[in-house]
């Protein structure tokens, strides 16, 4: 019995040892699949996000396949299946992305979400519309930041795949373009857009995502004949826009998505549109009838179909009594300044100065001042200033290559044969050859940037970007140089070499852009 007891004990102990025997069937946990080299970040509008991830397991790099998703709310869209992501942002604000890595050997997956903030590339700075070497239009953009100025070049080529056709005409901005979104079929109001204009094209370029919303045909109810004619001038006001194509005026009313057909009548407009205030009318000159006229604005109560010509009537205190119609004269230049010449309304009304020459008197120039006070109804002649200037006093003034008006003083700057001069209307004096430029002068504009500032702490950060500058662009070889002259009341013009900008092409138009509402309301001063 005792023998059996020992046998049983040995068997039980053996069984226990046998149970503890290592059969190498322990389940070992595989290390996690870790995605590296992927992190949230920021990117400028329109620029690509470029990411090359790595995957490791237990510290060792392993081979994986990848799926990249961008999120629309909670909906994921597959945007790439490549090992490296290169994706151009197409939205504003921020975008949430996700990478899904799959370990090739085991099929183990890992997900990683990350967010990119999209920083506007067009925010505060210069828009430089330039002529390319083949005579088309492209645009450079400067972004002024605390740590310096960044440049983005040829942004129209980037968005369109090629430059706009034809030479540059203008670039202005709007904060209220109404866009018919073809994807949703609904209208989207208050789109903030740049409107680059070339001789043969016009388009709406949304600032937020640098997307071309509409182009050419979609901006006209009846498309003008671009084969035979060109866009010659463009003006955008807060509520309306006007475009002169082949001497014919097309208006766009606020809230409309396209330009109306040309205004009716037998006329041919000179390529100058002058405004005072953020709404119509715009002063124009009809070369066919030698008459000043007005582009009034359509409203919800009426549609403008014709140019409004001034009535041949005069205010009692108007001693000049010069008819603005049938002037038998050619317009050489017309510009706008804030100063008033109306003795009855010395404040709050600006003036257009028109430099003209009678068709039958080429020995004299005529300088007219037209008060904006009369532009609203056109019921009286607006001419309150007239001066005859013999051409012999300054031949360069009659045939200058460029003219521009000082925004707050009665001075007309002009450039002839690379020589910068100006005519002081108040003193009736010429100040000649104050600067000589090298290369070919391609652009000249006085810009009084009086509206880009914020003094109210309740509406964002305080800043002040105001300046008074004369800008002159020159071209040499394939490149351009932009010269800036600061202007001071007592010091006049001072060239500031530090403000010089350089790039490729020939500058034809510049706009100081800011998203400040004040500038949208006064964009006419920058045109």
């Amino acid at each position: 019995m005792k023998y059996i007891y020992y046998l049983m004990t040995v068997l039980v102990v053996g069984l226990l040892f046998s149970a503890c025997y290592d059969k190498e069937n322990t389940i070992r946990r595989l290390p996690d699949l870790v995605i590296g080299n992927v992190a949230s970040g920021s990117v400028k509008t329109g620029e690509p996000i470029e990411i090359t991830p790595t995957c490791t397991m237990g510290g060792e790099e392993v081979e994986c396949t990848y799926n990249w998703y961008r999120y629309h709310g909670s909906l994921a869209e597959l945007i790439s299946e490549e090992a490296s992501l290169e994706w151009r942002v197409d939205t504003i604000g921020s975008v949430t992305l996700q990478v899904e890595a799959t370990h090739v050997e085991t099929g183990i997956q890992s997900l990683l979400s990350f967010t990119y903030t999209i920083v506007p590339r067009i925010d505060r700075g210069w828009l430089i519309l330039k002529e390319t070497s083949d005579g088309n239009t492209d645009m450079d953009v400067s972004l002024v930041q605390a740590n310096g100025t960044e440049f983005a070049t040829d942004v129209l080529s980037l968005a369109l795949g090629q430059p706009m056709r034809g030479r540059p005409v203008s670039v202005l901005s709007t904060d209220n373009y109404m866009w018919y979104n073809p994807e949703t079929g609904s209208a989207e109001n208050y789109q903030v857009c740049l409107t680059p204009v070339s001789e043969k094209e016009i388009l709406m370029y949304r600032v937020a995502d640098e997307k071309v919303l509409v182009r050419n045909e979609d901006l006209f109810f009846e498309v003008p004949d671009f084969a035979s004619g060109s866009i010659e001038a463009y003006m955008k006001l807060s509520n309306n826009a006007s475009l002169i194509h082949d001497g014919r005026a097309h208006l766009m009313q606020q809230g409309t998505a396209a330009f109306m057909p040309a205004l009716l009548g037998n006329y041919h407009l000179a390529p100058y549109q002058v405004c005072y205030g953020y709404s119509n009318p715009m002063l124009v000159y009809d070369e066919l009838n030698s008459s000043f006229g007005l582009l009034q604005s359509s409203s919800n109560m009426s549609t403008v179909m014709e140019i409004k010509y001034f009535d041949n009537a005069y205010r009692d205190l108007d001693e000049l009594r010069i008819s603005p119609s049938g002037m038998n004269a050619d317009l050489i230049y017309m510009g706008q300044t804030d100063g008033s010449i109306d003795p009855e309304h010395l404040t709050n009304y600006g003036t257009a100065y028109a430099l003209m020459q009678k068709k039958d008197d080429r020995d004299n120039l005529l300088l007219y001042g037209l008060t904006s006070y009369e532009w609203y109804t056109g019921a009286y002649s607006p001419i309150r200033f007239a001066r005859t200037i013999p051409v012999s006093r300054c031949e360069a003034f009659a045939t200058a290559d460029f003219y521009t008006m000082h925004q707050t003083r009665n001075q007309i700057y002009f450039i002839k044969d690379n020589q910068l001069s100006y005519y002081d209307i108040d003193d009736d004096t010429f100040v000649m050859n104050i600067h000589t430029f090298e290369g070919e002068v391609t652009y000249c504009k006085y810009i009084a940037n009086n509206y880009d500032y914020n003094e109210s702490s309740w509406s964002g950060p305080l800043y002040d970007s105001r300046f008074d500058r004369l800008l002159v662009a020159t071209s040499s070889g394939t490149g351009y140089t932009i010269h800036s002259f600061n202007w001071f009341v007592n010091g006049g013009l001072t060239l500031v070499p530090d403000l010089e900008m350089r790039g490729e092409g020939k500058v034809r138009f510049m706009l100081w852009y800011t998203s400040n509402w004040r500038l949208f309301n006064n964009i006419y001063r920058y045109s």
Binding site: T256, A258, M260, P261, S298, S299, M301, T303
Partner: protein, 274 residues
Amino acid sequence: MIRALILSLCVAFCCVACEETLPDYGSGWRGVQFVLDETSLNPNVYSYSFVGKDESLTRDTVWLTVRSQGLMPEKTSRIKLEQYEGREWQFVYGDDGLVIDSILRVIPCQAEAGVHYVSFDDGQLAGYLALEPGELEARIPVVVLRDESLRDTTYTLFFRIVNSEDLMAGDEAHCNIELRIADCISKPSAWDDWFFAGPWSRVKHEFMIRVTGEDWDNELINSLDRYDRNYYLYVFNRELKAENAERAEQGLPPLRENPDDPNSELTFPTVAYW
């Protein structure tokens, strides 16, 4: 006592059990009615014109949408249409502007089966005037005929859905249709009293078709937004001015809605308010 109570309860339960069940919505009632454009001021009015169509076209089809009501059909169910006589009230006003009398009159120029449209009893249509099993909506045809009488007069077909052996007529307001058939310029039903181009006249309508190349039918009118309307007003005024200038050169008066009435000069508004 307890026995009596139990007995009365049993009787009461029996009565409750025997109470007639009221028919509910899904009791087997099957109906059909038209699907109308509720945003229209005259949702029951349709129009069709042969104007602009190829001369060889002698018949065409106007499609209307119907929707089943109540239970869905479980078999192919016939939709029955019938023409009815259109009538309208005319009021006679006194000097004080109040109604002093009213007359119920038959609307003139009503369409004739076989002349202006294919009769609803025609065997060709039988297969189309039906709802298939499980079908919620269907489009049913009204075949209009190009008769000579339509060249200068618009004929109106008043018709409605009536009970068939399979389907009952639905809501009366959604069962009656007024279809205007013409082979001449006729007022589209979408051209209502608030139409942006002003009151309808044949001269105005013809002018609009001529200068734009558009049919100015319901489809076009309903597709326009306010800005399109403003554009078209611009075009009408521009072309009218050009045409009147041309007429003046020929010694003719400006275009008139009624050539014999010098006070009926054709005009267009200059702005669309909505």
